[in-house]
């Protein structure tokens, strides 16, 4: 890819799998894709017959070499692009893609320090990419995920994240499974003290989710002692 052109590539949908009632995994084959790091995103551009264009950013759930990239998209009720991607796009259909994008919210296997991932809802997607790369690289550094979601049915990649070697802690805000030790509720500083890696270990924290979630968790992390510069955030939202 010519990085300086800001050019758009064409991606063809080659696989689609429902993840929940409102989210689906989409794998595109993108000729010319240069590979990507874990945590990077892609812009998708749709053009209507009348020329109207809509561009949205989506995190990539995969990382590494190759021309196939997997996205996981959640349908936003008033969305302009996401309902089309979740409900309408069919195998063989093409979209315009720009990427890989962003080098700030990225984790690479060369990083040796401990890492805490904190996901809110579908904000888990770039963090799944980081966990996958960490596992594949057999990295010795600590990496664990704290995944906050409304209820058990809302989990993306539940099976993968529940695997024995996956260090995922689940947190429920509305509905918890029977017998769950903690009442459903928002993630608090106390939860982070209990469930997240302590700042004394020099941990780098990646937080991704809706803006309100990211602001609250980042503030709580700082409250319990983490330095602002040890926290990387990615907010999503919009229409």
């Amino acid at each position: 890819m010519n990085r300086s052109s800001g050019g758009w590539l064409t991606g063809t949908l080659v696989n689609a799998v429902p993840l929940t009632d409102s989210a689906r995994s989409l794998t595109f084959r993108v000729p010319g894709w240069p590979g990507n790091d874990a945590g990077q995103h892609v812009d998708i551009r749709l053009t209507a017959p009348d020329g109207y264009q809509a561009v949205r950013s989506y995190s990539i759930a995969t990382a590494g070499e190759g021309e196939a990239i997997e996205l996981a998209v959640e349908r936003l009720p008033d969305g302009e692009v996401s309902p089309f991607l979740v409900d309408e796009l069919e195998i063989g259909d093409a979209v315009e893609l720009r990427g890989p994008l962003g080098r700030w919210f990225v984790w690479r296997p060369e990083q040796t320090g401990p890492v805490q991932l904190v996901a809110g809802g579908s904000g888990v997607v770039p963090l799944v990419a980081m966990a996958r790369v960490h596992t594949r690289a057999e990295a010795l550094s600590a990496m664990q995920l704290l995944y906050s979601l409304r209820g058990p049915d809302d989990a993306l990649y539940r099976e993968e994240l529940s695997a024995e070697d996956s260090k995922t802690t689940w947190h429920y805000t509305r509905i918890a499974p029977p017998g769950w030790p903690r009442m459903p509720g928002r993630l608090t500083a106390q939860d982070l003290v209990r469930e997240a890696l302590p700042y004394e270990d020099g941990v780098l924290t990646y937080i991704c989710g809706p803006t309100g979630f990211v602001e609250a968790v980042a503030a709580a992390m700082i409250e319990i002692g983490h330095a602002a510069d040890s926290i990387r955030t990615e907010r999503f939202g919009g229409i």
Binding site: G6, A54, G102, R103, W104, T211, G212, T233
Partner: protein, 85 residues
């Protein structure tokens, strides 16, 4: 209006800056804060993107992207520098 962060600038700024926008360092002309643009608050779509200082909320960067052209204003930055590889 809810904001995003500087990560979303990566696509719109690609080709305009010649380097990744999210790891680029910049200094706010208003308060002097030095930040990676990934840390800025960004108010976005549909017209374009307005990146504001995380500390003093001054406008740092504006990008407007239309079908035919893209426009970049960095008037709120004293300087901008390519980030570490």
């Amino acid at each position: 209006m809810t904001h995003l962060d500087g990560n979303v600038l990566a696509g719109p700024a690609s080709g305009l800056l010649g380097f990744d926008a999210t790891t680029a360092l910049g200094q706010c002309d208003s308060c002097g804060d030095v930040l990676e643009l990934g840390q800025a608050r960004v108010y976005g779509a549909p017209m374009g993107y307005v990146a504001r200082c995380r500390t003093c909320d001054s406008v740092l960067v504006v990008i407007v992207e239309s079908v035919r052209q893209r426009t970049l204003s960095t008037r709120g930055l004293r300087w901008i520098r390519e980030g570490a590889p």
